[in-house]
């Protein structure tokens, strides 16, 4: 089992505040890995460092054995490493189908590809994925008019449209109606097994992440506190203390 992502000794500070300190972790290809930890533990910062949103102060980030810590966001995205945002981001004035159509992979794009008309195949795939997340009926609405939960689904669908190799999901069930969460867990699993996408998921909802992930890392105060299979972490006293604020 190879690792699709390897982070070694990554540290990031903002001003005087240390957000991540000496983080080392690995995400095996084809698996689902979770990242948990109390608020302010540096999870989103770590994602930001991995996708190139900001530079790390020290350490290395390797994607498919290739060092990416000095690359920019669009370049990393074109390598097949995508992420969804905590505050869901979609293209508000475009309708859902258009949001999807522009989310295809841009790797092969030459100058002439910019002017290609939109193919029926792309539109079909877009509609299919919208259907997959349950948004088919809303497909012609401007994305900005969807509810928060629907936008989250759209953002997820857009990521799938891109056929990434590794997808970083930042709290995919936050703000979602609890009755719909099972549907999301199911879709995430299907994306992993049917589409072969490796997932690295930040989650606060313990039920979700325990169900979803094969392996979990727990962050606290910017450092890795514990790592292991869901069953192990559930009973790990350090993890429990971190969440309950033990001394």
């Amino acid at each position: 089992m190879t690792n699709i992502l390897e982070v070694s000794g990554a540290s990031k500070s903002f001003g005087g505040v240390v957000a991540n300190h000496n983080i080392t972790l690995a995400v095996p290809r084809g698996r689902i890995v979770g990242l948990i930890g109390p608020n302010g533990s540096g999870k989103t910062t770590l994602f930001g460092s991995i996708v190139g949103y900001h530079a790390i102060d020290e350490g290395s980030v390797k994607f498919e054995k290739r060092e990416i810590s000095s690359l920019r966001v669009p370049e990393i995205a074109r390598l097949g490493l995508l992420r969804t945002f905590q505050q869901t981001r979609i293209y508000g004035k475009m309708n859902c189908v258009q949001n999807m159509e522009i989310s295809t992979s841009h790797v092969q794009e030459s100058l002439w590809d910019m002017f290609r008309p939109l193919s029926a195949a792309t539109t079909n795939k877009a509609e299919g994925l919208l259907d997959f997340v349950g948004l088919y009926q809303k497909r012609l609405l401007p994305a900005g008019e969807l509810s928060f939960g629907q936008q989250k689904l759209l953002e997820f669908a857009m990521a799938l449209m891109n056929e990434p190799k590794l997808l970083l999901l930042d709290e995919p069930t936050a703000g979602i109606n609890p009755t719909l969460i099972n549907g999301i867990i199911d879709r995430l699993k299907r994306a992993n097994t049917e589409m072969g996408i490796t997932l690295f998921v930040i989650e606060h909802n313990m039920r979700v992440i325990m169900d979803l992930a094969d392996h979990i890392y727990c962050l606290a105060h910017g450092q890795i506190l514990a790592a292991g299979a869901p069953a192990e972490l559930r009973t790990d006293q350090r993890v429990i203390d971190a969440y309950l604020g033990g001394n």
């Binding site: 995205a77 981001r89 590809d113 910019m114 009926q137 012609l140 879709r187």
Partner: protein, 346 residues
């Protein structure tokens, strides 16, 4: 089919207008030029979210390029400064130099768009707007100081080799055809991936980057396309006016700003919005010029403030709000009859 009829009407009306109202042919020519202004502004502005106040730069480059080429080919440098009546050019000489000058101007403008764009298109939001404002005015100031292109005295363009009526018709159809080509090109452009990418950049550039879109390529290309059409329009305008200086070539506080307002008035980010806005704006401007003369600029400034404060959604936006069934987005409710099975779970 209503669309087809509309296009036919506009095309037919445009083609036949000179026969009906020869007296107003200059005004009509300028109308088509204003339409080009609004459409080209909207490419980077309404569609892409990069609101430029400096597109007039490309217009002016086109103006000057032709006249400089004409001077270099046929005249002595000093004739342009001392003599107001130049030796007339033959028709062949005139049109060839016009064509060559237009091409040179276009190449220069596009090159400028690429070169300046590499730095300026990296700016976001209001920084981009104010930077381009500075760019447009800087161009005018440089033009008024640079001896090679006439400095403060400007340059005289050769006379059109034909009758005044012939001249009027030539320039009318030049601007008409250019406007039509511009419109149709943009209509095609917005139907391709390019259009989607521009809108994505407008709606959330960070997200577009995070999805791997080559934002720099799209931004630069958009500005280059605007530069191309503006440059040719400028080439024509310089010749039509027979005289160019910084006021004619780089009229920032008039054409430069009006480009922005025309698109907003009609409805930015749409295809017909800039066209409608240009028509209304041009007519208003002509009316003000006729009846207010000295105060027309004040009135135009007030008009701008009124549009921005009370009507920023533009005409198309207003139509969509008032009559959503006719102008809004149609959403169908039928479910997809596909094989994906999880549909019913949610």
């Amino acid at each position: 089919m209503k669309q087809r009829l509309l296009y036919l009407l506009v095309a037919g009306g445009g083609a036949l207008a000179p026969l009906v109202a020869l007296d107003y042919i200059i005004q009509f020519s300028l109308l088509w030029m204003m339409i080009i202004f609004a459409l080209t502004w909207d490419i980077a502005g309404g569609q892409m979210g990069y609101n430029s106040f400096g597109n007039i730069l490309f217009f002016g480059v086109g103006c000057y390029a032709v006249v400089v080429i004409q001077r270099e080919l046929f005249f002595d440098f000093n004739e342009y400064r001392n003599v107001t009546d130049l030796t007339p050019l033959s028709a062949v000489e005139y049109f060839w130099s016009f064509a060559i000058g237009s091409v040179v101007g276009a190449v220069l403008s596009v090159a400028l768009a690429v070169l300046l764009g590499s730095g300026i298109l990296g700016l976001r939001g209001h920084y981009f707007a104010i930077c381009t404002l500075g760019l447009g005015v800087a161009a005018a100031e440089i033009a008024s100081g640079w001896e090679f292109i006439g400095a403060g005295s400007g340059m005289v363009a050769p006379m059109f080799p034909g009758s005044p009526d012939g001249r009027g018709l030539f320039f009318y159809y030049l601007f008409f055809v250019l406007a039509v080509i511009c419109f149709l090109s943009l209509r095609w452009l917005y139907s391709t991936r390019f259009g989607l990418a521009l809108n994505a950049i407008r709606d959330d550039e960070d997200k577009a980057e995070a999805m791997g879109i080559h934002t720099t390529r799209y931004k630069t290309s958009a500005w280059c396309i605007a530069a191309l059409f503006l440059s040719i329009a400028g080439a024509g305008f310089g010749q039509l006016n027979n005289f160019i200086d910084r006021e004619v070539a780089f009229p920032g506080p008039t054409f430069g700003v009006w480009m922005v307002l025309m698109a907003i008035l009609g409805g930015k980010g749409t295809l017909w919005g800039p066209v409608i806005g240009a028509v209304i704006f041009h007519v208003t401007q002509e009316v003000f010029w006729t009846y207010l003369f000295g105060w027309q600029r004040v009135a135009m400034g007030a008009f701008i403030v009124l549009i921005v404060v009370f009507f920023p959604q533009g005409i198309i936006g207003w139509l969509r709000n008032c009559w959503p069934e006719r102008f809004g987005v149609r959403v169908d409710d039928d479910a997809r009859s596909a094989q994906v099975s999880l549909r019913n779970e949610v």
